[in-house]
């Protein structure tokens, strides 16, 4: 019954989306049409219905209702409750329902709170949002119904892939989804602005919090996913440039560029065309990522049969929305008046360079990801991986960081180099000193060397904009920018340090053996079986000590799950302020010794600390913007009240 309620709610929501679409675009043609009044309520109601529908699915998973096909194929009664719940979105149908729910919630929220923009533009924006939503409703309802019933009801479910039975991976997909789908709002705003020829700073201000919020979620989602891959795959890697990772990186790159571009438009009424284009591209990259992953045309894994019908469906949506938006953009671009002017040496100038560099990196990641697909059409198979992506993206990334160091100190419109000469010299000296220091003290590759030096420079530079400011009166968004830029330096430092200085030890050990890796000394004590709720494992017991310090315990496990069958490696991570010891247990060799893999990874944790700092900076900026908006609005309300009072007084 609950499943039917979920399905009915979804159909109703789809019908409301059609209403919102028609009424919205009618409203663009005729602002006074009677239907206009229905647009906002339709959006809000849709959000409620989607929430009900998603709630119904989560409920079906929570009680393991095996008459629902999706539950039977992806869950199991013996699973821990947290993984039962996360099972609701750890599959194609459930994740699409989550996608559309987030989209409906975002649409409902703009309908509810956004009242600054001209009415016509709001109608166009909500109409565009509904237009995108309708496609995804159809996709779910026609080809991926999550509430399909199963008859006869099986005795128990198939269970969830063991690698997915992990808290990290349970909550990282929804985080990424909120990011991806949040960008649909930016897309709709951009289309709305184009349709009503309304590319203004107000438009940028209305769009900015949405871009910021999506970007924060994307940042956290990518960082969490990277950390999950790091500890779950058991080989110490945290970024592989594999197509699915790239699919999440591309929207992030576009959103980062959009964020900066929208700031320029909001503050200075420049970069109008750029902002619109990035708004279209950011969500396009989200949809492209969805397509690449779900159609299976890139990650061709034998065991994961991907429905070609679904792939074709998403491709049609992709062509309609991305193609449509790009054509609209090309047709309307010349009606967007040129914005305010600025000199090369100005805040805008620096942000333009930053945007161009981010777009170039985006183009490279896109090409590198799709290139194997292109050559396959000619029956040639190639692989593009880290040896390509790392240096080629660095060509644009490192100069971009140099601009990032200087840009925030520049004034809007035009500036003189004399004014910022001192801080620039300080940053340059720090960078060069770090470069020389590392070059003399160690023998590492060029890229990590440049990375360490740049990280030092950017770290210093990121707080330079606070120079000469009263720290208490510095607006939150400025703080946010400084923290986020510092986060970039921290993450880059972690990446470079781990790449350059990590130590690896692969050994076959028996109890009593002592293994040295970097400054660590590990003593193998024993290997014994342990059991969990739906797995058994062999667990290694090791005593480890850093540089002769106190002993700590490490318990890496090799787990075997039975529903469904599978094996995972649960690594032991010993975190210090300056890095992590990574211990993984492998198989038993014939002579009774155990395979152990140990890595000392100096400062590797800084990669994710940096990611969190970037996200935290975004949160500060978002908070600052929201507070600013609320203050402005209450001031407007007060002004309005006063005006009315004065008018009344004058009348009396």
């Amino acid at each position: 019954m609950i499943a039917e309620i979920g399905l009915a709610a979804l159909w109703l929501a789809a019908a409301l989306a059609v209403l919102q679409l028609l009424a919205g675009f009618l409203g663009v043609r005729d602002e006074n049409s009677a239907l206009v009044a229905l647009v906002r309520p339709a959006a809000v109601l849709q959000a409620g219905l989607c929430a009900v529908s998603f709630g119904a699915l989560v409920y079906a998973f929570a009680v393991t209702d095996l008459s629902v096909k999706l539950v039977a194929t992806h869950s199991h009664s013996m699973k821990p409750m947290a993984f039962k719940l996360s099972g609701a979105w750890a599959n194609h149908e459930g994740s699409m329902l989550l996608w559309i729910t987030v989209m409906a919630l975002a649409g409902g929220l703009i309908a509810l709170i956004e009242h600054r923009l001209p009415k016509r533009m709001m109608m166009a924006t909500l109409g565009a949002q509904a237009c995108v939503a309708v496609g995804f409703y159809l996709f779910i309802l026609l080809s991926s119904n999550p509430f399909e019933r199963l008859s006869p009801v099986p005795a128990d479910g198939n269970g969830l892939n063991p690698l997915l039975q992990d808290m990290g991976v349970s909550f990282h997909p929804p985080t990424l989804y909120i990011g991806y789908v949040g960008l649909s709002v930016a897309f709709s705003f951009a289309v709305g602005a184009l349709l009503t020829r309304n590319v203004t700073p107000e438009f940028a201000r209305a769009m900015r919090p949405w871009v910021l919020a999506s970007w924060i979620f994307l940042t956290i989602g990518i960082a969490a996913g990277s950390y999950w891959a790091y500890y779950e795959l058991g080989w110490g890697g945290w970024w592989f440039w594999d197509p699915v990772e790239n699919a999440s990186l591309m929207p992030w790159l576009a959103a980062t560029a959009l964020l900066h571009s929208a700031s320029v438009l909001a503050a200075r009424d420049a970069l109008r065309t750029w902002t619109i284009m990035l708004g279209v591209i950011a969500f396009s990259m989200s949809m492209l990522g969805t397509f690449l992953v779900r159609s299976g045309i890139l990650t061709s894994v034998h065991a994961f049969a991907v429905d070609p019908e679904r792939g074709s469906f998403i491709l049609v949506l992709l062509a309609l929305y991305i193609g449509g938006a790009l054509v609209l953009f090309a047709l309307r671009a010349n009606t967007i008046a040129e914005g305010e002017r600025f000199a090369l040496l100005s805040r805008e100038g620096a942000l333009v360079v930053n945007n161009v560099a981010l777009s170039a990196i985006l183009a490279i990641v896109l090409l590198g990801t799709l290139y194997p697909l292109l050559t396959e059409a000619f029956d040639v198979r190639v692989s593009v991986g880290p040896p390509y992506f790392n240096p080629v993206s660095a060509i644009f990334f490192l100069p971009m960081l140099a601009i990032l160091a200087v840009g925030p100190m520049l004034r809007w419109r035009r500036d003189s180099f004399e004014r910022i000469r001192l801080p620039v010299i300080i940053i340059a000296v720090v960078t060069l000193a770090m470069f020389a220091l590392v070059l003399v003290l160690s023998d590492i590759g060029l890229l990590p060397l440049l990375g360490l030096a740049t990280a030092a420079g950017v770290a210093i530079a990121s707080f330079m904009p606070l120079r000469g400011r009263n720290l208490l009166r510095t607006p939150l968004p400025v703080w946010g920018m400084c923290v986020a830029h510092f986060g970039v330096a921290v993450a880059l430092f972690g990446v470079a340090a781990d790449t350059a200085f990590q130590q690896e030890r692969l050994v076959a050990a028996s109890p009593g053996d002592v293994i040295e890796v970097g400054p660590w000394e590990a003593t193998m004590m024993s290997v014994s079986p342990v059991a969990g709720p739906n797995w058994t494992a062999m667990q290694g017991d090791l005593l480890v000590s850093y540089d002769g310090g106190p002993m700590r315990e490490a318990h890496p496990q090799a787990r075997s799950f039975w529903a469904p069958q599978g094996e995972t490696s649960e690594v032991a991570l010993l975190t210090r302020w300056n890095g992590q010891l990574y211990v993984a247990l492998g198989n038993m060799a014939e002579d009774g010794r155990w395979q152990l893999r140990l890595w000392w990874k100096p400062f590797v944790t800084y990669i994710w600390y940096g990611g969190l700092l970037i996200a935290f900076g975004g949160m500060l900026a978002l908070l600052g913007r929201v507070i600013g908006d609320v203050r402005r609005r209450s001031a407007e309300v007060r002004d309005e009240e006063r005006r009315i009072e004065e008018a009344e007084l004058a009348a009396s």
Partner: protein, 141 residues
């Protein structure tokens, strides 16, 4: 999206048919490092750029698949025997084609990968010079 989800599905593809796994011990150098740290470093760097053929989207340095272990053995054994990383890579490419290497070399089939960054650099340069240069000139005028 769900990028990690897919990656792990890729891994699972190897894990799931547990019955179809061999029971043989790994090849000598599959999980054993070379004595000489310099040679091991060469081998390690190379292994990170070779594709595991049984597992989609993973290097042989990141995989528990038996075949990845056997490939690691070949790499280490050949490096230990005095071959250079480039020779080992060339040996594998002569067996499996460019697919096995994550490090595309400039060739008739891969040149666009290397032309694009140059085009982008030129494009970025012209966009910046034109737009900003023109604006500065306009402002000065």
């Amino acid at each position: 999206m769900m990028r990690w989800l897919l990656l792990l599905l890729a891994v699972l593809a190897l894990v799931q048919p547990a019955s179809a796994q061999d029971r043989m011990p790994p090849a000598p150098y599959a999980y054993t490092q070379l004595q000489d740290p310099a040679l091991e470093a060469q081998a390690r760097e190379l292994m990170h750029t070779l594709r595991c053929l049984k597992c989609q989207s993973q290097s042989i340095a990141d995989s528990d698949a038996p075949m990845a272990g056997d490939m690691r053995h070949q790499v280490r054994a050949r490096i230990a025997a005095g071959q250079s990383p480039d020779e080992v890579r060339a040996w594998l490419i002569s067996r499996y084609g460019d697919y096995v290497s994550y490090d595309p070399q400039v060739s008739a089939t891969t040149w666009p990968l290397f032309v694009l960054p140059i085009v982008l650099l030129l494009l970025a340069g012209t966009i910046l010079l034109r737009r900003l240069g023109k604006r500065a000139a306009d402002d000065a005028a």
